[in-house]
Amino acid sequence: MAHVWRMIAQRLAFGLVTLFVVSIIIFGATELLPGDFAQAVLGQAATPEAVATIRRELGLDRPWAVRYFDWLFGVLQGDFGTSLAQRGRPVTDMILSRLGNTFFLAIYAAAMAVPLALTLGVLVALWRNSLFDRIANSTALSAISFPEFFVAYILIFVLAQSGYFPSMARMPAGADLGEKLYRAFLPALTLTLVVTAHMMRMTRAAIINLLASPYIEMARLKGMRPSRVIIRHALPNAIAPIANVVAINLAYLITGVVVVEVVFVYPGLGQLMVDSVSRRDIPVVQAIALIFAAAYVLLNLTADVISTLSNPRLMHRT
């Protein structure tokens, strides 16, 4: 067990390094993008004088290295700076409410998708090559072959135009949990349809991959029921790949849902990130990139810890 603790500590340290490198990459990439905040915010109305003034006021005329380290020292002291676009508004203040929205939607969708995917995955592995397997597979595959916005449009057509659910997922101030769940149902369902197939198929593949192993053969020869073989013997050993794919999809639910946010007018971080990139509002871009990266690092670490705990051989590998 000490080994696991050491691994967690080590990975968290690496996680911090990852965040640092991500901040450099994002900063560098945003710098490499043609144009800067002053040009982007003025758009068609940009004149050289106005651009110069905005740059001077916001200190954008300083070399990039100076601006980066200025930002970095601020962050190390817990200050994420202020948005360039919303002058004087702290980045943390802009992000907090959207962060809550993003996590709410991700958890909502995960709560529907993960149990569904794992159950279906075990069932199709159990009844592999049956009609049920084929139909579940084809349906899931068709569902993920449709782009997210298209799934969203179909759901809006079927479930919103008939009046069952609202087509916009905006949250009125002070909405209670029930209302929130109701209003965010369509985006959550869209995401569920998008991520379920991937997890289900990986579960199925991981289990089937183990079924030819000698110890499974043994269990079967002992006359164990197929369902018991899979749940007792195959599933525990298939946990590593399953945990991995679940982690990837959870990370996706937090970081990759900008399209769904746009279609359902849901104020999450993805939309803010894309907007801020296009306006070159670097402090906001950096802060969100760090949140996304941290979410990813933590989920991944969790998946790796679960993999390690599930495989005694890995526990003793130095």
Partner: protein
């Protein structure tokens, strides 16, 4: 009543598909020999169906100019013309022939998706297996690099890279492939890690086998299954990436026809119950299902299960 009619048509479609798959298998076994023939003879109908679909797509892609009545980009009528003898699937928002664009779209879409996925797997699995087998600093280095890349959301990463480097088809393929390869790397490494600790690998190491031998002969065969399963899905994720990028205003250059962008261009119609955007989306879905049926069959063969 409506449900019964739906069931009726579903049954007919299923029947026709199975008959076609059966006929395809019969023809395929007749024209092949040896190992291939034996494999094909034992292929389940779903796999034959998948192969039939892939075969048809390939033929369509290769013979596109012969099949399509109209050029890919030419405006041949007014916008949104209904289905007719001249324009089998009507015309699109600019008055271009929808059927011809679907046909040309096969070539562009399948080509791009295949190139991208193949490249992503080449990069991802080579480095993934290397990292798992060699371990140590190489593993640490590559894993941390991939961690950093994966920690940036792929859509936003692609957005950044494509804005910096431009949106030619080659750049598009490279950018999506590199970003996708990180996912392949993680999977390949995770699966291979489980294999590397097995006794027979230890034995091979003690025998003094080289790295290439270890990877290609001992590890690769044992990690193929999940990788192949992943390939089937990654393949269709490429369409989705292109589609999502065109949602954000990037993606393939017009007037090139590709299904991902065609779904995007016509998507609004679906909210009025018009099925036009279902055609390119359906084409993607059918191909995805077909590819994954074949993948499932291969997976089943590879698992060595005999039941």
């Amino acid at each position: 009543m409506g449900f019964l009619i739906f069931l009726f048509w579903a049954a007919i479609t299923l029947g026709v598909a199975m008959a076609a798959a059966w006929a395809f298998r019969a023809v395929a076994t007749a024209v092949t020999r040896g190992e291939t023939q034996r494999a094909l003879r034992n292929a389940p109908l779903t796999a034959s169906f998948g192969m039939l679909v892939i075969f048809i797509y390939l033929v369509v892609a290769i013979l596109a100019p012969l099949i399509a009545h109209f050029p890919e980009r030419e405006v041949v009528g007014s916008q949104f013309m209904p289905w007719s003898g001249d324009h089998w699937l009507g015309t699109d928002a600019l008055g271009r022939d929808m059927f011809s664009r679907m046909i040309y779209g096969t070539r562009n879409t399948v080509g791009i998706a295949f190139a991208t996925t193949a490249l992503a797997f080449l990069i991802g699995s080579v480095f993934g297996l290397l990292a798992a087998t060699v371990g140590g600093w190489l593993d640490q280095g590559l894993s941390r690099l991939v961690d950093v890349m994966m920690a940036i959301p792929s859509l936003i990463f692609a957005l950044l890279l494509l804005t910096i480097f431009g949106t030619s088809i080659v750049t598009l393929i490279l950018v999506i492939a590199v970003i996708d390869s990180t996912r392949v790397f993680r999977l390949a490494r995770a699966v291979a890690e489980g294999v590397v600790v097995m006794d027979y690998i230890e034995a091979a190491r003690l025998r003094g086998e080289g790295l290439v031998y270890l990877i290609t002969r001992e590890i690769l065969p044992n990690v193929t299954a999940p990788l192949v399963a992943e390939f089937g899905l990654r393949f269709c994720f490429v369409f989705l990436s292109i589609s999502a990028l065109s949602f954000l205003g990037l993606g393939i250059q017009p007037p090139t026809a590709d299904w991902g962008s065609m779904v995007r261009e016509n998507a609004t119609l679906i909210t009025f119950g018009d099925i036009t955007p279902l055609l390119p989306a359906g084409a993607i879905a059918l191909l995805t299902v077909a590819v994954n049926f074949v993948v499932d069959w291969q997976l089943y063969r590879a698992s060595g299960l005999k039941e």
